[in-house]
């Protein structure tokens, strides 16, 4: 079985080894910028004099190779590839005078700056971690002392405790079963009950709005809710054959009449 696979592979052993190295490398990189920084090392020049064009080509070749080997690349690698392809074309073509955006040189310079800054922060991090450190290279007083007679209780909490407590409460809130404010909601059940009592009085065609309950007419939100519920209730009553509805034209007032 593995032999058969091996036979069908046309690339040379060297290609295959390079491909395998690539797999390992992709895992080892922390995103496209990290990869670009690693690639730029091969130019063996000061990062300020790096050839962004050459770097873009290296990166694109890398991505193509990954694609050919069917290595899944995270989306940000592909976004960077697209951007570099764009930058490459801009760097190669003469500038378009009608283009108001930043020049290709500015974009390239910014990329070089980002790489140099990342390299500098890595270097700084290494120097920081190489310093003599408390508890490893130098030490604090091992035995904190003081008279045991005077004892004061002191409560402590860290900012982290505080935030975690708040997060705990707020997360619990998000879990609360969904319910909404019913104070301004006229339910269909309420409307149906009310209309069953009132429909008998609608001998003539009567505007639906006149059946809205007291206190549900002035406030817009309440009126909306009561209108919707009453309309739905009337539809139900019409279905049961207790009343008729009519509307002269679209958006005209709805009228209802009792049906004996």
């Amino acid at each position: 079985m593995p032999d058969a696979d091996f036979e069908t592979d046309t690339p040379s052993v060297a290609d295959r080894l390079a491909g395998e190295a690539l797999i390992v490398d992709v895992d080892g990189f922390e995103g496209p910028l990290d990869l670009l920084l690693a690639l730029s090392r091969s130019q063996r020049v000061d990062l300020r004099r790096i050839s962004v064009l050459a770097l873009a080509e290296q990166y694109l070749a890398f991505v193509d190779q990954a694609k050919a080997l069917r290595i899944e690349l995270a989306a940000d690698y592909l976004v960077m590839a697209a951007w570099l392809a764009f930058l490459k074309s801009r760097l190669l073509l003469p500038p378009d005078p009608s283009d108001s955006g930043p020049s290709a040189e500015d974009m390239a310079a910014h990329l070089a700056f980002q790489l140099e800054r990342l390299a500098a922060m890595r270097e700084a991090a290494a120097r920081l971690m190489a310093r003599a450190r408390l508890g490893q290279d130098f030490f604090a007083r091992g035995e904190v002392e003081g008279p045991a007679l005077i004892r004061r209780l002191r409560y402590t909490a860290t900012l982290l405790d505080l935030m975690q407590a708040y997060a705990r409460i707020r997360t619990r809130d998000e879990f609360r079963p969904f319910s909404y404010d019913r104070q301004n909601i006229w339910t269909m059940e309420q409307a149906l009950e009310r209309m069953r009592g009132l429909i008998g009085f609608a001998g003539e065609w009567t505007d639906l709005a006149s059946f809205l309950p007291e206190g549900w007419r002035a406030d817009a939100a309440r009126r909306r809710s009561a209108t919707a519920a009453t309309f739905a209730a009337v539809l139900e009553l019409a279905r049961q054959g207790h009343c008729e509805l009519r509307q002269s034209e679209t958006f005209a007032p709805l009228s209802i009449r009792h049906r004996s």
Binding site: G142, G146, L153, T156, T158, D161, L162, M163, A167, R172
Partner: protein
């Protein structure tokens, strides 16, 4: 001293004193002479160095004293009155107290009823009293609503303790989530088996917002 000559020249006596000084300072327990001798480089004489060190500290704020068979630095007996603060015992705030405190910090000015609504349980009198006593919260203005309930706000002491410039500097929910502090509710994993983590989304949104701020 042994018959075999030491590989390197022994440190000078002042150097040996420095070494003992560091060891005794950093140790959590008094150190016996035998252990001091064992930890010094070859060719050192712990007893002689220790005697030199002890004399150097005579009359100082800290003195080198024997504790049984061992040696330790101790505060000069006449200066004990200066160390009262070191004896305070620290204890973690109860969960009820820290939750109440966080609600006051995030929602101030806030009434007791509002705190209870947010926490979902009654706030015991002791909890509020404790926070008042710690000088982390104080009474704010009365709310101009029926009953004129009293409100609670956080104090300067609170800001000092938690290293905040103002209560407005407390991170918001989105930031808490981004910092991984709200991680008990993972977002649906749409990214599949990739490296996308729940919460990354929020970070991305932040980033774009911020970049939009730049111009």
């Amino acid at each position: 001293m042994n018959a075999t000559p030491p590989l390197f020249a022994a440190p000078t006596l002042p150097e040996q004193e420095r070494m003992l000084e560091a060891m005794l300072f950093a140790s959590a327990v008094p150190l016996p002479l035998t252990e001091l001798q064992a930890r010094l480089p070859e060719g050192c004489d712990a007893a002689t160095a220790l005697d030199g060190l002890r004399r150097r500290y005579l009359g100082r704020g800290v003195v080198l004293v024997p504790v049984g068979e061992a040696w330790a630095f101790r505060t000069a007996p006449d200066l004990g009155f200066l160390l009262q603060r070191e004896t305070t015992e620290t204890r973690k705030l109860s969960r009820a107290a820290i939750e109440t405190l966080s609600i006051i910090a995030y929602h101030q000015p806030v009434t007791r009823a509002e705190i209870e609504e947010i926490r979902g349980v009654a706030v015991s009198r002791g909890t509020v009293e404790q926070l008042l006593e710690l000088d982390w919260v104080r009474f704010g203005r009365r709310r101009m609503t029926p009953g004129r309930p009293v409100t609670f706000v956080v104090t300067q002491g609170f800001l000092d303790h938690f290293g905040l410039e103002s209560a407005r500097d407390l991170p918001g929910l989105k930031e808490l989530r981004a910092a991984g502090l709200l991680d008990n509710r993972p977002a649906p994993d749409l990214a599949g088996p990739g490296e996308m983590e729940p919460g990354e989304d929020a970070g991305q949104a932040d980033m774009f917002e911020e970049e939009a701020d730049e111009h």
